[in-house]
């Protein structure tokens, strides 16, 4: 078998993981091409962590099968482990020992000699801007530093595929940007990244391909642009000078669109969602015909929030509490 032949980093075929009666992952099939960032997007408790844990050989699937870097998850677990690295949702380093010791420790485990492990540790500490904290216990690190040492430990051997489980949850914007920088640098060097996130913005920013998961089921998949256009909804927002114009516009638009326009009296604006963009020009033209002054208008791309809302019929953040055994 030539494993380098496959062009997919992950090929999952109907993976199921049941805990008792609950099916945390309920038949997910997906393909992740090599060299991309795959964003696994979903609310808390959707099954993201369970999926990652199965793909990283930590959980045995109840049903289904998968290939990771061309290796069969069930039969070639050791080969899979050779090609992947995992950064879990909670610190995947030993918090009781220092950052440098952690890196040397993992370095030794993956087969470096003592000297090489130390060299590699120092190299990574420098690259991740952690030199000053090298000798401190990890439990004394800030959230951002912890994430960085975590990812540094994951790339000691430059894995072909890196799993990141909610890499920026709980981080401040600056630390989050640092983590994003690291992820982008990894991808640039050919690593495939499979990350889970609850943040729509994160998936939008980083991921080449996004899978939307809800209650253990993959409900949509595609690039950020594809997902948005598959929803097909764009909003035309028109602002008016005064309420009189607003009211007139409201009556003109009545019956013109499939969806009833939303009127915001505070902002003196109307927003209309539409599938066909040419309708926007028609709407503006219609207003001009009636001599209604338009203060401003704009077309808005749907956000991933809209995507989630449209597919699941509810906002992304509504569901479940923290750590409910995902």
């Amino acid at each position: 078998m030539d494993h380098s032949n496959t062009s997919y980093a992950v090929e999952a075929d109907h993976l199921v993981k049941a805990f008792g009666k609950e099916r945390a992952v309920d038949g997910i099939s997906l393909k992740v091409p090599k060299g991309v960032v795959y964003g696994f997007l979903g609310p808390n408790g959707a099954g993201k962590t369970t999926m990652i844990r199965m793909l990283a050989t930590l959980l045995k699937p109840t049903e289904g099968q998968a290939k990771v870097m061309g290796y069969d998850l069930a039969k070639e677990a050791d080969e899979v482990r050779q090609s992947i690295s995992l950064t879990g949702q909670f610190a995947s380093v030993d918090e009781e020992i220092s950052g440098r010791e952690n890196l040397i420790f993992i370095g030794r485990l993956v087969g470096f000699s003592r000297k090489e492990a130390k060299q590699r540790a120092d190299e990574l500490l420098a690259a991740f801007n952690l030199e000053d904290a090298a000798k401190r216990q990890v439990k004394k690190y800030s959230g951002g530093m912890r994430r960085r040492i975590d990812i540094a430990a994951s790339i000691i051997t430059s894995p072909e595929l890196l799993f990141l489980d909610e890499p920026t949850t709980g981080l401040d914007p600056r630390s989050r940007n640092e983590v994003w920088t690291v992820i982008r640098a990894l991808v640039k060097n050919g690593t495939t990244v499979f990350l889970t996130t609850q943040y729509l913005e994160e998936a939008d920013q980083l991921a080449d391909l996004i899978g939307v998961i809800d209650r253990g089921v993959l409900i949509a998949e595609g690039t950020s642009a594809e997902l948005k256009s598959s929803i097909g909804v764009r909003s035309l927002i028109i602002e008016f000078e005064d309420e009189r114009d607003l009211n007139k516009a409201e009556s003109i638009f009545e019956g013109m669109f499939t969806q009833t326009p939303e009127v915001d009296r505070g902002r003196l604006s109307i927003s209309v969602t539409m599938k066909d963009q040419s309708k926007a020009a028609k709407a503006i033209g219609e207003l001009a015909n009636h001599q209604i002054a338009v203060k401003d208008f704009s077309m808005q791309q749907p956000s991933l929030d809209d995507v989630f809302l449209t597919i699941t019929g509810k906002p992304a953040k509504e569901k479940g509490g923290e750590a409910n055994g995902e």
């Binding site: 995992l86 420790f105 993956v110 190299e123 690259a127 060097n189």
Partner: protein
Amino acid sequence: MENNSLEKSIKLEKRPPKASPMSAALTFAWRALLRIRYVPEQLFDVTVFPIIFLLMFTYLFGGAISGSTGEYLDFVLPGILVMTVAMITMYTGLDLNKDIEKGVFDRFRSLPIWQPAVLVGALLVDVVRYSLAATIMITLGYILGFRAEAGFSGIVLAVLVILFFSFSLSWIWTMLGIVVRSEKALMAISMMLLFPLTFLSSVFVDPSTMPNWLQHFVDINPITFVVDASRGLIHGYDVTSELLIITYISVGLIAVFGTLTMYFFRNKN
């Protein structure tokens, strides 16, 4: 963050060869030692515990059982040595149980290493901890007037037997440490097993003074064999048959509970 050094560090020219099982286990042992360096209080159970045990039982029972504490010390020290080390093995499971809760275990399990190394490394350090406990007790015993008739070599042999048995016993706790969900429950189960096992043995008194039904239990209790063997090695009488039985029991414990431990370790949810 400097992008140049970051990108350079990401590119690794060559992967090192896979670490040998031995090297992986020793690396885990090294980690456990590092942890002790940061939190030396972790050694309380192998330092203070043995001292309290030895003093307490010698002076509590000595007069009543042997007429004098001096004579009793010679009898009871090998027994308490076994009892203390057997009791300490419980902490192996407790530490493991705490460790597993943290994310770092996920990383270990996703590394391309000889998986038992995680546990073997921890147990190797535990053997060092047990030796520390034994050394402290024997030293204190000597200060209190204990004398080994077979001399130093007898003591060393006895300690080696105790360490070997304790290492095998530890696999019960590693298994429970993985399976049992809460630390409290684990503590309760361990105590429930260890108390009868250590007290209902030949540690404190000669079994011939016990009622018949109890003697039957004491006679098949593995702790009794280890205690009798240690006594024999320390005071210089033949314990070949005991040593043979201990070997069977220990190998059996490792085979059964080592296998179960690794099974649960691999299949943990």
